[in-house]
Amino acid sequence: MVEHGDIRVVHRGGSKINSREPVVTNDSRFLLCASGERVKVFSTSTEECVHDLRGHTDLVTGVLLRPTNHLQVYSCSVDGTVRLWDFTDGILIKTYDIGYPVYAIYASANHEGVFFIVTPTQSDNRSELFQLVAVHLPQSGDQLVEAQELSAVLSNVSSNPAATGFGRGGEYIASAKGLHLEVYFFKKQKSYRFSLKEDNKKGGKNTLMCIACHPKDDCIATGHEDGKIRLWRNFNHKKEYTYTTLHWHHNAVSSLRFTPEGTNLLSGGLESVLVQWRYNQESERDFLPRLGSAITHIAVSPDGTLFCTSHSDNKITIIQSCVKVSAVIQGLVNGESVRTDLMVDPRSKSLVLNGKPGHLQFYSLQRDKLLYNLDIVQQEYIHELGLQQFEVVKVAFDAPGNWMATVEERKPKAAEPEINLKLWAFDEQTQSFVLNTTVSAPHEAQITSMCFSQAADGQTSMLVSASEDGHFKAWQLPRSACTEGPSWSCDFVGDYRGLAPQCCCFSADGSLLAVSFQEVVTVWSPASWELLTTLSQPPKAIRDLCFGRLGCSKYLMGTTASNLLCCWNLLTCSLEWSTSMDVSLLLSDPLTENMAAFCCQAESTDLFVFKPSEPRPVASLKAVCSGKVTRAVFAPREEMLESCEESSQWLNRSQLYFLTQHMDLMTFTTKAEEDRLAASSKQLFIDDSVAMTPFYLLLGKHRKQENQDSLTRLSAELMPLPRGSLAIKELLQSPAHVLPSTSVLCSMFVESLLVSVADGSEESKHAEEEMESEKEEEDSEGEMESRTPRPEPASPGLQSAESAAPALTKAQLKELRRVKKLDHGWLADLLLS
């Protein structure tokens, strides 16, 4: 990460959770999965992340339950360490330093004190050869242990963790690579190698993809690239081995798994169908279709009740006994390419971008969590390689967030592209977008740009779409309410000398529309559709257009392909200033006058933040990331930051997010913000000893509110809550080992509940007393009143301070009096016992 003053570039949006197979704990309550440099612990029932095991310094490549202690878990990483964690408390127990990058980890109950890892054969990372190594764990009480006893078991194995597996009772280990299957028997210290031909007659590919060993039987299942599954038997003979073939998948089998009892075999692949084969009755199959996207890994809980499938769209599905999907843990979908611009939903303030194929994902930036996926294409997704699918290529929101426009596109190989423009209305009841209008073939060619009118009145929405067919069209919602509800229709079709429009932009008040046609910028009035003026800055085509906001709304910014950043003044219709910069992306902050320009220079990107009225940039950051930045967005903050440093002031009201070349979501943070975040996360960490269930969240919030309330209502009148609940809370919060025996507690507990009745009489007494005290107060108030009008020579400021001070003390006095009256008997009992 790049340090620059106190502004830092940080990753957002989590990492892949589908890179490795997830692990279900013995009690099926937690799900562990590797996620970037961390191991995440999810609750299987609530889908919430309970713990975040941090410690590794590089990508985590494997998670494995310790066979001898089911409350501990091993994790291995490319940083050359294997760490042992207690996942219920989220504590690091031990670190084994291997010294080489570890790509997979295996262990078996029958091999105590040993685990098996896959490391590169040469110590340098570039080699393609990997070996399976047994590591003998030294017995040591230290936190950091250096594991020296390494012994190679198999050489030339695949780095894919699915391609190796332990057989029945840990007697043998099987590994697949390319067209070979190798089985190593530990007792005989002997390995057998079986090979397949490269291609069979029908052109199917026999390459082995994954492997699974039967837990009770001598049988190895292998999945192949052509979709076949082979069940190998008799593999302890060199020649007399046999195999049977099962074929259902039409694409490569990416994952295989036997259930713990060995009765069923689960397989999955690109088809996103979980297939359950009966062992020894392979003609009987059960299917769980339409799981969303290609299955990459399958995991089964040790008791066989839960299946977990991880999918290529960064999702883990938890399935109960192959019937019902009970939970879905979804991370930010990192597609290969984001075709839509990054957008911020004005209502939920969530980031909107391409998600699953044909979907848009709404990603909450504050909670760092995927909110939901919205199905845009609404067509059955066909899981087949090489098929042209509909893709969402453009999204636009109107200012209040009532309307969303999407463009989807499909390009068949031979035929013309299919384009659909869809307009979605926000439905208050379901709190999501509902399809209102579909326009098929709105333009004859690709749509290059689309924007909503920014009109503040919110009455008339207008959408402008520009296309390569040389036209731009304005779409409007007719005002007359029809019987079937209003639907959008085309209002105006504009063109300029047959040139193809590149980008369009509305001014802040919606009174001007700028459309760029190659090197000419045309300015139109949306009210009358008159061409007002043209601005031109040869010699190259305009790449980006952007109107200034707030105080700078008279400026129109544009970037050209010939590395020029121009600023036109719309009052004089002349060029205000221009500068030579290779701007790859220009965008304006909707809340301030600031504009951000990403410049690409020598393989790395610089960021300039400036105001159109001042040629001097507000802030500039060098070498933000490598490669070109083409997608970025300003997201409004929930609460304003108060940073007074000039260089970071532009981050006060909104935050800038951008996508790098490798589709990583990054953002800029300041030091102060990070500190605050760290503090809050620490607080959370202490609090989170309980599983994060929705119930807990509800209660937790309530409790927090209570705390706050009690803090803020220092001077408030009688607390409505009976103090019994307070006692119960204290009781529940104190750890069990410091509490007295249950028999003692029970009577106390009941007493504390009964107090409320006794309290009634007491309270009436209190009330009486309080009445008196109030009388007194009134008297004193009367005194005060009589005192305040008395003319005093002191300055008014001083007087007010004086008059406030006795009032405060009065309130405090009252509070103190009440506290004194509180029954602290239970605490005394507790201390005595």
């Binding site: 769980l288 339409r290 969303g292 999907v325 609404q378 067509q379 059955e380 066909i382 098929l387 013309e416």
Partner: protein, 509 residues
């Protein structure tokens, strides 16, 4: 685990008729009562007085029907030959009718025998009417004359020999006892004034005139002849106002709705058209089973009576307000709804333990097949006769979905001759539809690719392919023409624009 997302059927804007006030008004009639008469029904006339009986002239009889009875209240049978044009007098007491035997008979509505017989015409009398003073009768005959008769004396008052062909229609003025208008097969309309002994106005319709109608104000005259309906302004000396040509066979009858806002014309092409009398646009249209010869509307439009060449009299009564309200509520009253909803709308009480059942997703048959990847079967389902003909958008949507899945070729391949012929038939019907062209054109190409090897083996498929080729060629020519027109228009607009600009420039100067 998401559920299967069904194929999206594109909703296209409906091109069919719009629901207007007129359609609502004219559709608000009950199913027609049909009565078989003895011959073609040439004339229907409503009595102007209260029960509003109507006289139906068919063959040698005139039946008088009550407003609700389906049996004739009275039958007048004293005709030697075919009777024509039974007309009520304005007090509803007397009825006059012409006859093929050239004798005009006057009946008392309550009696049976003829009160008077007017002899004088030499040929069949097709037109009879009372003048507004109620004491005279106008007749027009195939002997090219029209005459006025005095009822009390049964004598001929005057004879007008100005027409040069059969006189087949005529009306008398309701406001002036001396004015009447006749129309003849010599293409002319003549306005006569009994005080002048000759026609005072002549209008040329251009076709043999079949029917005449005077507006209640008597300022406008409507004439029907050939396929044309023409409106004349009598106050401007018989100036033609409008000419309407909405029928594709001879217009036989005209009548006006009771409020005078709508004009109805009936024709041999079996249609009745309803015009708005302010702009003379067709606002509604009825169909009948056979060519219509006569049409009449009861006062207040209570019923529409039409007589046809196949001697069927069709009477449509207006629905009463309760009946029209019933239509919408009718389905709710059937027991099936209650059967289906039984127990489902039970609201759980507070202590009830709820056992929820998974909601079953209802899918169309093709969707079920698509879900299980049975692509060929789903295409078969989508090409079923009913879907293909009535809801081509479903078929097109399934083809599009298969194309999106990349399995359209598999679904199209390996079919037999019959199936292929059916698919090609569908393509011929819908390929040039602009709504479907984008989907069906690639599909058609795919079919040609798949079955290129076997072209020439089946005469059935070959014929279809030739038709398809022809269709495409025609469509290409058509599109080219359209582009040419567009180009011409563009030039015109540009010239116009340039002219405006130069003018502006001159103004500025």
């Amino acid at each position: 685990m998401a559920s299967f997302k069904p194929t999206k059927i594109q909703v296209y804007p409906k091109l069919g008729e719009k629901v207007t006030q007129d359609t609502l008004y004219w559709k608000n009639y009950k199913a027609p009562v049909q009565i078989k008469e003895f011959g073609a029904i040439t004339s229907i006339d409503f009595s102007p007085v209260a029960p509003h009986n109507f006289a139906v002239t068919a063959f040698t009889r005139i039946h008088i029907y009550g407003p609700f009875s389906q049996e004739p209240v009275k039958t007048l049978t004293r005709f030697k030959d075919t009777a024509y044009c039974g007309r009520f007098r304005s007090d509803g007491q007397l009825l006059v009718a012409g006859c093929e035997d050239s004798v005009v008979r006057l009946f008392d509505v309550s009696g049976k025998a003829a009160l008077r017989m007017f002899r004088g015409h030499t040929k069949a009398v097709h037109v009879t009417d009372f003048t507004s003073d109620r004491y005279q009768i106008l007749t027009g005959s195939d002997d090219y004359t029209c005459r006025l008769w005095d009822i009390p004396n049964a004598t001929e008052l005057n004879s007008y020999r100005e027409h040069t062909d059969y006189v087949r229609c005529g009306v008398t003025s309701k406001l002036n006892r001396d004015l009447f208008i006749t129309g003849s097969y010599d293409h002319t309309l003549k306005l006569f004034d009994a005080r002048a002994d000759k026609s005072v106005m002549t209008m040329d319709h251009g076709q043999p005139v079949e029917s005449l109608l005077l507006y209640p104000s008597e300022g406008l005259l409507v004439s029907a002849g050939g396929r044309h309906v023409k409106v004349w302004d009598l106050l401007k000396g018989g100036q033609p106002l409008v000419s309407m040509k909405n029928h594709h066979k001879t217009v036989t009858c005209l009548c006006l709705s009771s409020n005078g806002q709508r004009l109805l014309s009936a024709s041999l092409d079996r249609h009745v058209k309803v015009y708005n009398t302010t702009n003379y646009k067709v606002v509604h249209n009825f169909d009948y089973a056979a060519s219509i010869l006569s049409l009449a509307l009861a006062p207040n439009d209570e019923s529409i009576v039409a007589g046809m060449t196949n001697s069927i009299l069709s009477i449509k009564h207006r629905k009463s307000p309760e009946e029209s309200a019933e239509v919408s509520g009718q389905q709710r009253r059937t027991p099936s709804y209650r059967v289906f909803v039984k127990g489902k709308n039970y609201a759980p009480k507070q202590d009830d333990y709820l056992v929820s059942k998974p909601v079953k997703q209802h899918l169309a048959k093709y969707d079920k097949q698509l879900r299980t990847f049975n692509v060929s079967n789903s295409l078969d389902t989508a090409l079923a006769t009913w879907t293909r003909l009535r809801k081509p958008e479903i078929t097109v949507a399934v083809i599009k979905e298969l194309d999106r899945r990349g399995t359209l070729k598999n679904a199209l391949a390996g079919r037999d001759e019959q199936w292929l012929a059916r698919l090609l038939n569908f393509l011929i019907g819908n390929l040039v539809d602009p709504r479907f062209a984008a989907v069906l054109a690639p599909a058609a190409e795919m079919i040609l690719d798949v079955y290129r090897r076997v072209v020439g083996q089946s005469p059935l498929v070959d014929r279809q392919l030739l038709r398809l080729q022809e269709l495409l060629e025609r469509e290409i020519d058509y599109q080219q023409d359209l582009l040419e027109v567009l180009g011409m228009l563009d030039t015109l607009f540009m010239v116009e624009f340039a002219l405006e600009q130069t003018e502006d420039g001159e103004h500025r100067r």
